[in-house]
Symmetry: C2
Subunit: 283 residues, 2 copies
């Protein structure tokens, strides 16, 4: 199988990410259908013609006819969905996802699918503060990273389709990580940063802060306006890895605290030089 | 005295901030001279005609002829300068600054000046990662905050000149705080955020991080590429206030850590809802 325009692509979950996938794939000339349990979302998708077919029901026909299914659901809802409807998926179907944690879902999903269909986990490192299909944007992946997270159960053909999907969506960089590497990386880069932003925003009740703030506080707390349901789930689904990253970060913060407390200017400068050296690589 | 175009304005320290003040004031038609000990900076200022007169020497004439002097120096260098040359300043001169901490300098400077000249501290909440006169930018203050930090020793006329200066420079919002309020606010909004960014950047040595990062990590660490000499000084000059803000922030971080450790989803969500509610006010 190849990712070409004859394939029937199905997106399950037409939110911000599923919607952005749909818009970009349609823009590129692919055939795209969508299932979303929210009737209003389906109405919006039909009126705006963002997909070829949209339904709020899990219709047997549409699942059986799909060659590639992209799941854009919360992790546990994804697992429940496969448990309930996985048997409707035809043999040889390629399945991928957008889920932000992989350890908690990958083995479960692959075991449930067995030899019937191939699930290749993937993580688009992109998003917006405001969720929902109405905020979907086909340009969202420009400049962003896409991580393919194959396991030993995946075929080279499946992995290639997944990589081609990332290319088609317009990602800047496509990488491969193992499930474990992915979840550690995400704990540090994404979950820890959200923990920091939330903690910082909770630390000071002064109502006048926004009158005085500069760019640095604004940048550090942009992600502090956060979807609590989604993120608390992601935190707990990657709990061990996140707690470890929180520990490591806190050790550094405590070290800096002690340097300041002890008037150790050279210690502070040393940390700042390391930080500057590392940060320059991100530019 | 009024801030008008007949005044002789002197800028001491022609770095990023001093240079941006100079460019904007010249653009608005003011007469501006500058002193900077760095001979290359003076050369640059002369060649680009960014000020009417530039010198690397502390010339008695130029100081005596100045009606308004703006100090854009590190705090301790500012204090040393006034100690050494303060007697050259003519009676009635208005003095302001750009220093990021106020407690450590204000009383010292005002006591040294005595009845001779009036020092009204001010803090432009703007900056760039890259310092130096060559990065000066007259548009830097658009959309930014300007804090005037008067003491009981200041006159309403002096404060008004300082406010007018902020307006002329193009700041979006001009506020007044006491020295203590200012230093607490800055400890939280500016210094704590830099501590967090530096700690985060030091926490993980993985060289591949930049391959996988999304916007959130990039935003949180933008300020982690930091001038160690300047910022370590600012931290230690505002040590007590900064340690208190670090303590408060760490309590929130630890609370979130415990919620995650105890699988307390509702506790996590509660913090996220508070954080979201507060952050929306900054938009």
């Amino acid at each position: 199988m190849k990712l070409d325009k004859d394939l029937n692509i199905l997106i399950v979950g037409l939110g911000l990410l599923g919607g952005s996938y749909a818009l970009k794939l349609k823009e590129q000339g692919y055939k795209v259908s969508a299932i979303d349990t929210d009737r209003d979302t389906v109405g919006y998708a039909r009126i705006t013609k963002m997909v070829d077919y949209a339904t709020s029901e899990v219709e047997e026909d549409i699942i059986k006819n799909s060659d590639l299914i992209i799941f854009a659901l919360y992790p546990h809802i994804f697992v429940d969905w496969i448990e309930k409807y996985g048997s409707l998926i035809k043999k040889g179907t390629v399945i991928t996802d957008v889920t932000g944690v992989k350890g908690i879902i990958t083995e479960k999903i692959q075991n449930m699918l067995g030899e019937n269909a191939e699930f290749i986990p993937a993580h688009p490192m992109a998003g917006r503060e405001h969720l929902g299909v109405q905020n979907a944007d086909p340009t969202m992946f420009e400049g962003a990273n896409y991580i393919v997270v194959p396991t030993e159960k995946n075929t080279e053909n499946g992995i290639e389709i997944c990589i081609n999907l990332g290319e088609t969506l317009g990602f800047k960089r496509i990488s491969r990580l193992s499930v474990e590497e992915h979840d550690n990386m995400i704990a540090f880069l994404s979950q820890l940063t959200h923990c920091i932003a939330v903690s910082l925003m909770c630390a000071n009740p002064d109502e006048r802060l926004c009158e005085f703030t500069g760019d640095s506080f604004r940048d550090l707390t942009r992600i502090a306006d956060i979807n609590d349901k989604m993120w608390s789930g992601l935190f707990l689904d990657n709990r061990e890895q996140l707690l470890k990253e929180m520990d490591d970060y806190r050790s550094c913060f405590d070290k800096l605290y002690d340097y300041i407390k002890n008037n150790d200017k050279e210690g502070i400068c040393e940390m700042m030089r390391l930080s500057s050296k590392r940060r320059k690589k991100f530019n």
